[in-house]
Symmetry: C2
Subunit: 584 residues, 2 copies
């Protein structure tokens, strides 16, 4: 296994043996540790001393189910702190199968380049060729991806950055291909696209031909674990074939959150959207059925996924409009903007993919612009125009491209739903306190995936607790955050958590897969401990970057502005927030 370093300053690369301390790390655990160890916490995120780190998960590249995740880490231009943002894509498997544990992108090139990553069978190791890539700058990713496939063959996979990254936006993701070669799988959050572009790196094209694959230390144990995990995923209502996610996609949550009064609407001014049913997962399923004349179940974003939650929205004539309209995108570009047209939402998602924007941050930023009166709530066509401005880098586009906190400042607003500079996702913290504690305290800035307490608070997974009560929620968020940091390191999609939190043998299976790969002897109860170690490393980086507990706070307006329909404010005491890390 290697650490691959790309030095953009002189367009060279180096393969290093994996140091002992990194041997058992993968995914988030590895990106965060490398960022912590190598990036000066006070460096400028777009300057010469930041580094961009890619790391497939521990089991990524094996036949472990739903495990084609790659973590992308750096100091974030959005939050100023450490960032890990992961995506599901064949690229993750290709890199892992070349026995690369991490790619560290260092230095800064003049102009844009791409790195062509192949397996050198003769030398028995990966090989990198740098090529000029200025021709791909300033262009729609839906145009560029086919050109890359034409040039490098349709078996390759792609990591890249779009216009948003080139402009240095805080809202700029790293894009990866999905299984159909769409530029649609994103490490969206935190401006990783800008960090990539500021290195002068436009794409990493990975060709898996001849790659030897991941070595298993204990194949029998791995196979045993894999079987347990597969069984759990196939058994649980949320993750099973033709279950909730496979049928309605993640947007199945729209109606559920709306019912709970926790669907942030019109820039977090209500927890309920009168147009919810029109944009819900059920409406996507029914809309497709109508336009295609048949039922369409969802597909996998990456090879080896059992859950298969990625939908495709179709135009009235039955041709594809975009894949995929995730819950978060559907909400941010829909309910949160007061937009109830799936066609408009789909176009907005498509444009985010085309320009390299994070859909969550884009929707929350558009809502802030609506609040400021730039366009009206519900104006889908106006929103589409604004996203084009972002993609073109006009003054208005740059103002919005900086992200929600940035735009809120530009417009002099106080109702700006962000923590540590990153916008809140699709769960209203005033109505669902546990997720609010996660937003406030995670090292990542407001992030639902960092500790998804929605499972017990709303979905009845892993128990059932009252979403409106702050009681016990600090401990709940802490437990979820720690376990999540571990799962994000394994390379599995976080959605396996639905199954393994309810089915203990599934959790065991996940641990056995890891043990099978690494030769470790981890038990289920070790997951949270291992995760907590990762969080502590991230926290240490943030503190050295000047982001301490004072940043673990909700935006002030949530404390004095009651949220309909429950008319609740944010009432979790600061001491509870401080206890999340204080008692870790």
């Amino acid at each position: 296994m290697w650490i691959l370093r790309l030095n953009m300053s002189d367009l060279s690369y180096r393969l290093e043996e994996v140091p002992a301390k990194y041997q058992h790390l993968g995914g988030r655990g590895l990106t965060s540790t490398i960022v912590h160890d190598e990036v000066p916490p006070l460096c400028h995120p777009l300057g010469p001393n930041n580094k961009l780190v890619f790391a497939p998960g521990i089991v990524t590249g094996t036949v472990a189910p739903t495990s084609a995740r790659v973590s992308v880490g750096a100091k974030s231009p959005l939050t100023g702190g450490i960032k890990e943002s992961n995506a599901g894509t064949s690229w993750a498997q290709h890199v892992a199968n070349m026995q690369i544990k991490a790619i560290v992108v260092e230095g800064q090139a003049k102009g844009y380049h791409l790195a062509h990553l192949t397996w050198d069978a003769k030398a028995g190791k990966p090989k990198v060729e740098f090529m000029p890539a200025n021709e791909y700058a300033g262009k729609d990713l839906y145009e560029i991806f086919p050109k890359l496939y034409a040039k490098f063959g349709n078996k390759v996979s792609i990591a890249g950055t779009g216009n948003a990254g080139e402009f240095g936006y805080g809202n700029s993701g790293v894009v990866f291909n999905d299984m159909a070669g769409r530029p649609s799988r994103y490490s969206g959050r935190g401006g990783m696209g800008a960090v990539m572009a500021s290195r002068g790196l436009k794409f990493i094209v990975a060709d898996p031909a001849g790659a030897p694959g991941v070595v298993l230390k204990d194949k029998a144990l791995f196979d045993e674990g894999r079987k347990k995990l597969i069984d759990a995923l196939r058994a649980h209502d949320i993750t099973k074939p033709k279950g909730g996610l496979n049928t309605y996609g993640t947007a199945v949550l729209i109606n559920i959150l709306n019912e709970a009064g926790g669907l942030p609407t019109r820039n977090f001014s209500s927890g309920r959207f009168e147009g919810a049913a029109k944009i819900a997962g059920e409406a996507i399923f029914e809309g497709n059925k109508q336009r295609l004349g048949k039922e369409l179940y969802n597909h996998a974003c990456s090879p080896g996924c059992i859950i298969q939650c990625s939908n495709t929205w179709h135009k009235p004539d039955g041709t594809e409009h975009v894949s995929c309209v995730e819950y978060e995108s559907d909400w941010s570009l829909g309910a949160n903007c007061g937009i109830d047209s799936l066609d408009d939402i789909a176009e907005l998602v498509r444009l985010c993919n085309a320009y390299g924007l994070d859909t969550i941050e884009t929707g929350t930023t558009l809502a802030v612009a609506m609040e400021a009166g730039v366009i009206k709530f519900g104006d889908g066509k106006g929103a589409i125009n604004l996203v084009h401005e972002m993609g073109k880098g006009t003054p208005m586009g740059r103002l919005l491209g900086g992200g929600t906190a940035f735009a809120g400042k530009a417009f002099g607003l106080t109702r700006v739903p962000t923590v540590k500079g990153q916008s809140m996702p699709a769960y209203e913290p005033r109505a669902i306190k546990g997720i609010g504690i996660t937003y406030a305290t995670t090292t990542m800035g407001a992030d639902h995936t960092a500790g998804y307490t929605i499972a017990p608070e709303i979905l009845g997974v892993s128990g059932k607790v009252d979403p409106l009560s702050p009681e016990g929620k600090a401990a709940l968020s802490r437990a979820f955050q720690a376990t999540t940091a571990f799962i994000d390191s394994t390379g599995h999609c976080l959605f396996i958590a639905f199954a393994i939190l309810d089915i203990a043998s599934g959790f065991e299976g996940m641990m056995e897969e890891c043990n099978g790969v690494l030769g470790t002897n981890w038990k289920s109860e070790d997951a949270a401990k291992l995760g907590a170690e990762i969080l502590k490393i991230e926290r240490a980086f943030n503190e050295a970057a000047g982001i301490g507990k004072e940043a673990d706070r909700m935006p002030e307006f949530m404390k004095y502005e009651p949220l309909p329909p429950h008319n609740v404010v944010w009432d979790v005491p600061d001491s509870a927030l401080d206890s999340v890390f204080g008692e870790m």
Copy 2:
């Protein structure tokens, strides 16, 4: 003496007796203490819980020389920390003469209002009348001020906010009248204009008629001190009539700093500007002489000033263009933008006054826009157009109105000369280390007035030290910062420091003036102790706002980008920076 509270939420006011703990405070000491005591450190600067505090200095309103200063304090929308920004204006004296020690503006009104502050002779106390002021919103302050004088009489004085404040810009000052009724004296730094506008307060018009004046506890002592201070001011080369400041204005520094290689040029890419002589104080003096046919010495910004450093620039036809072209404005809008036309610089200053912008932050922001390629360095007409955009609130204007750090982020730049979100003024810290330590460590964000080590490093005032050496500079900055915090509390203009640091009896005189007003028994050596107490209070606020020692750092590019002509980088160790407050 009273604390006057303006409650904008219900347009009421309240006069409170001054609490014992505030009795001996004034100016910065009082604004910072009230902000510390009453403003939640994590509140939104433009939200309902921030407060705007005005406080004349301890001796303001008396006949103490050069003492018509008012401090304006709040949580800053630019830095996120505590802010004190002071100005010289008759308004300070009028308020002091009504025996008001501080005005605390609280709550938020709908729409804009003005507060008409008069002396109620019958009741023997100040009186406030609120009036609608929406008619003044969105307008040039040069148009509005004459209307206010027409309405309230030409004896009144005015505090207000312009378009920049209404837009909520981080770059928005609080404007005051000068002696000719121009809207030209500014508490410019840190977005105090936006804090005022966000309260719904557009102007405070003060009518001094009948006001009883400041009570002196010991008139003889006061008079004695006053005489000593006057003698010192009249004796020192920098402050005496027809001395450096009275002849050439503060812009006398242009040639001096250029010669020292410390005049930041073209967005801090050089320490020397080839056009320096064309924009220097000497050029202003000669230009006026040519256009007026006679020598013009400078005037006072406010009554009772001996130094009289405010210039006026005239058009080719001899009519007034603008007053005043301060060194900082001349530099920021001139050298730092590569602009060498005094007519263009004067127009830029005029526009800043008209729109309510800080000239320093505006020039450094324009330079960042030039660096980003929006317009070219040296393009005066282009710069004028951009300031109009700021004044009109276009998308480009809002992007620039957020300030230099904000614009730098919008353009994805790394060469952004700011600390704690506030732009550096006219002294290159790589070439003059002591001032860099002040920039890095002051509670205010980069600010030369917070600890003006330029005095010994460049001007040979209070000793002479090598500007390029970091040796002993932390102690030097600490001493200057502490003494400055006290002088900013007395109500004297900081320029008295030139005289009193060299002439010990002048320093004694300043202390005796204060003792004469307050009945205290302070000695010269108490000044730094009293100042240090203020700094500690400010520091405590900032730490609670999440601004700790990690924020006491210079921008990273200064560490790796050598500055011509000396080709020096920022090489002051972090430990020296930490020692400024660590050893206070």
